[in-house]
Subunit: 109 residues, 2 copies
Amino acid sequence: MEIKSRLWVEEQGKPFIGYGRIKLLKTVARTRSISAAAKELNMSYKKAWNLLNQINKLAKEPVLIKNIGGKNGGGTEVTPYGKGLISKFEQLNTTCIHFLEKEFKKIGL
Amino acid sequence: MEIKSRLWVEEQGKPFIGYGRIKLLKTVARTRSISAAAKELNMSYKKAWNLLNQINKLAKEPVLIKNIGGKNGGGTEVTPYGKGLISKFEQLNTTCIHFLEKEFKKIGL
DNA sequence: TGTCGTTATATTTGTTAGGGTATAACGCTT
DNA sequence: AAGCGTTATACCCTAACAAATATAACGACA
């Protein structure tokens, strides 16, 4: 019997970032490539691109810098703002989990 | 820009209760009928029955008392244990939402 | 200038959760 | 005994979602 949670942030009623998108962003930041990240997460390139596109459309500041063509065919960088999103969301998520487990034990069930 | 959350409780890795199931349970408790609750929630009877069946299979104590046939064709009662589940889950949910909104403002984004 | 691996996008194919429908059992009520 | 509205369950089918495939543009580099 365990408590589970899922957090996400919405902008204009549309999902902006959540658990899955943050995991994807982190992998893109490390691999510097959307396609490599998608492969690593066993996700189709299209799905990864769609998710990142949603983030891009809703973000107030740029999250990704994409390069088409060039060395290694191009690649994608995550901006400092994007990396801030990652760390802030992960912090919020872990504090929430701790809070919930404490409360769950208190309430019982 | 707003924070959202979804909580649920798992038993043996399977979903036991969550937002949707609690809403269904509440409606069953009020209407004393699975079919009436399903109709009110714009959900097929089959789906409602499946959800309640999952709860039943995982619960340690009875959650529902179902009557087939009889006055008005029968009906379904939610046990005190089931009502306890409802109130405890809702309490956990609201405290979590308050906590998250406070933390969200603190962290910004 | 041709090759390469990437981003970007459309189109087609597959999968699966849920909807629709049908049917049976049940036990008060009349 | 018949009728009613409920729970319970099987079967088919479809409609939304994800996967697979195909193709184009791009720019460094050899």
